[in-house]
């Protein structure tokens, strides 16, 4: 996904080290706001996001609808605020699936070496080469549409990079003498990998996983836009952009623009924070 790569470059430039901490602080503040809104949407949103009111259809910004209304008369602002929920939970679930799968694959490949490593690594390579979106479409074709299916699909599509990172970090860690000391104590491979190695490499892996959040956000929004993810009447931002296309054609851009801007801002903010967090975590690696 080349769009995510360039966003990450921007994020790295903006959030890089001590040069512009302002961007970092802004990003953190923005994300905190998003989380707050997600939790408090019930109280903050002026309208029920699903409330249909054809009288207000495609009205511009008014006192009643601060950001206007879409073609069904639903309040754009309220839909924006409620949309924070799927936009946060969705990518989080993708992260959990990708990290769990990736860590398991990576650790197993690192511990066993030899042909199990080859088999696991080739599977991962194939998954990596396969376009994520295409894979997601196939998976959804099997599992059916909806946010859960999209989340599972993307989780599987994202695991390869986590697996590769885990494998290389785990391999380095497993070479260290203290691991052999554990083997000499009679501990099993499974015990050593899960109880001893995993906590030691977790900081690096988690640091990377955080950066994936932004990718997951964009990916899910894209799938929802295509109608494969969140389904109506969800307030999901990706879905809202898709639905807002009709309004766009009729000359009203707010119903599509507002959620689109929200997606971009959140993805950028997550990347800035994530990149910085990953650097900090990696810097604190124990000797």
């Amino acid at each position: 996904m080349s769009s995510t790569m360039s966003i990450r470059t921007v994020a790295k430039a903006l959030g890089g080290y001590r040069r512009t901490p302002i961007a970092f602080r802004l990003a953190v503040a923005f994300l905190l706001l998003v989380i707050l809104v997600a939790l408090a949407a019930n109280w903050v949103a002026p309208h029920d996001p699903d409330a249909v009111d054809f009288a207000a259809s495609l009205s511009g910004p008014t006192a009643e609808h601060l950001l206007g209304a879409d073609q069904s008369g639903r309040d754009v602002l309220s839909r924006l605020l409620y949309g924070t929920r799927t936009s946060l939970i969705g990518p989080l679930c993708v992260l959990v699936i990708a990290t769990a799968l990736g860590a398991a694959f990576g650790l197993a490949a690192a511990w066993f070496e030899g042909w199990p490593d080859t088999v696991l690594s080739r599977i991962t390579d194939i998954m990596l080469a396969f376009p994520g979106l295409l894979f997601a479409v196939f998976t959804i074709a099997i599992l059916g549409r909806g946010l859960p299916a999209a989340v599972v699909a993307l989780g599987i599509a994202f695991y390869p990079t986590v697996a590769k990172l885990t494998r290389s970090v785990a391999r380095a860690e497993l070479r260290r003498p203290y691991i052999e000391a554990y083997r000499l104590q009679g501990l099993s491979g499974l015990h050593i990998c899960v109880v001893r190695v995993l906590p030691n490499i977790a900081p690096v892996v988690l640091g990377y996983a955080v950066v994936l959040f932004g990718d997951a956000l964009l990916g899910l929004a894209g799938l929802s836009y295509l109608g494969l993810g969140a389904q109506p009447p969800s307030s999901d931002w990706g879905l809202a952009v898709s639905e807002g296309q009709l309004a766009l054609i009729q000359g009203h851009f707010l119903p599509a623009l507002v959620p689109a801007v929200a997606i971009v801002l959140t993805a950028v903010a997550v990347n800035i924070v994530g990149v910085r967090a990953a650097d900090l975590i990696a810097g604190e690696e124990p000797a």
């Binding site: 000391a181 554990y182 000499l184 104590q185 009679g186 099993s188």
Partner: protein
């Protein structure tokens, strides 16, 4: 003999062509004895030591401890734990041999737990062991990151001893330490041998270390056992050309590196003539 370590004609190969890493090596360490394994890089001494501990497996030959055969890997956890109580190892690199996440005390207590010490007693047992190796309470609760090389090696020794092994293998365990610290650790190991009766296998390239702490020594070169015998005798009256070469390399009064170079060339020549170079 049922007692102690017996290694019978053990071989190991890593490549199909070229000399084996270990070629039919045999040795015996009676209980309470201290043995040295001397050689340069490529001699096979580390490979042999690893096979003795079980970290690597021989292609042929037998290894047994206290009469129990341990040549092949064991799948059963119970057997693995039993073997852990027979032979333990202290590694060369003090900076990688301790789990960075655990305090020294936690690492030793964890090992004691595996040795069967009841959970409630593990902490005390760990403190006993750490005291035995000369670490203070303050050092005990520290993470390895904050300790010096010498302190980390002491902690590694304590952790190994927690499993109450009959044999402790030290793989270049003092090579990375300053000379004065090295001397302290060697004194400690001698004392532990007297106090606990544990036998020692010292792998080292450093003849001075070997001369200080071992009763017997096995000299290896390119996988082969070159000479074996009581340390004092081998160092004073070496029978083999390679042993003499090794000794000639030790700097002392009147040492002449050019003469050593000549000896080395002679040795390489005789190896070539024997068809082994």
């Amino acid at each position: 003999m049922n007692e102690g370590l017996t290694v019978g004609s053990v071989s190991r190969r890593f490549t199909h062509t070229g000399p084996p890493a270990v070629d039919r090596a045999s040795l015996r360490i009676p209980p309470g004895h201290s043995m040295g394994l001397v050689g340069e890089s490529g001699s096979g001494k580390t490979t042999l030591a690893r096979m003795i501990t079980g970290l690597d497996r021989p292609d042929s030959g037998t290894i047994s401890m206290q009469g129990h055969d341990r040549t092949r890997a064991s799948r059963r956890a119970r057997e693995r734990r039993r073997r852990a109580g027979e032979i333990q190892m202290v590694f060369q690199d003090p900076y990688g041999s301790l789990d960075p996440r655990l305090s020294v005390h936690a690492a030793v207590a964890g090992a004691a737990r595996l040795a069967g010490v009841p959970r409630s007693r593990c902490g005390d047992r760990a403190m006993e062991l750490l005291d035995q190796v000369g670490l203070t309470e303050r050092e005990a609760v520290a993470r390895p990151r904050t300790l010096s090389g010498g302190q980390r090696q002491r902690a590694a020794i304590a952790r190994a001893l927690a499993l109450e092994p009959d044999l402790l293998v030290l793989d270049e365990a003092v090579s990375a330490l300053d000379v004065s610290i090295q001397a302290q650790i060697l004194t400690l190991l001698n004392r532990l041998r007297t106090d606990t009766g544990v036998s020692l296998l010292f792998v080292s390239h450093d003849l001075a270390v070997i001369s200080q702490v071992t009763d017997d020594v096995l000299v290896m070169y390119r996988g082969r056992s070159v000479e074996q015998g009581p340390t004092a005798r081998v160092l004073l009256d070496p029978q083999e050309e390679y042993t003499r070469l090794l000794l000639a390399c030790v700097p002392g009064p009147g040492w002449d590196p050019e003469r050593v170079g000549a000896l080395r060339r002679e040795f390489t020549e005789s190896e070539r003539e024997a068809g082994r170079a």
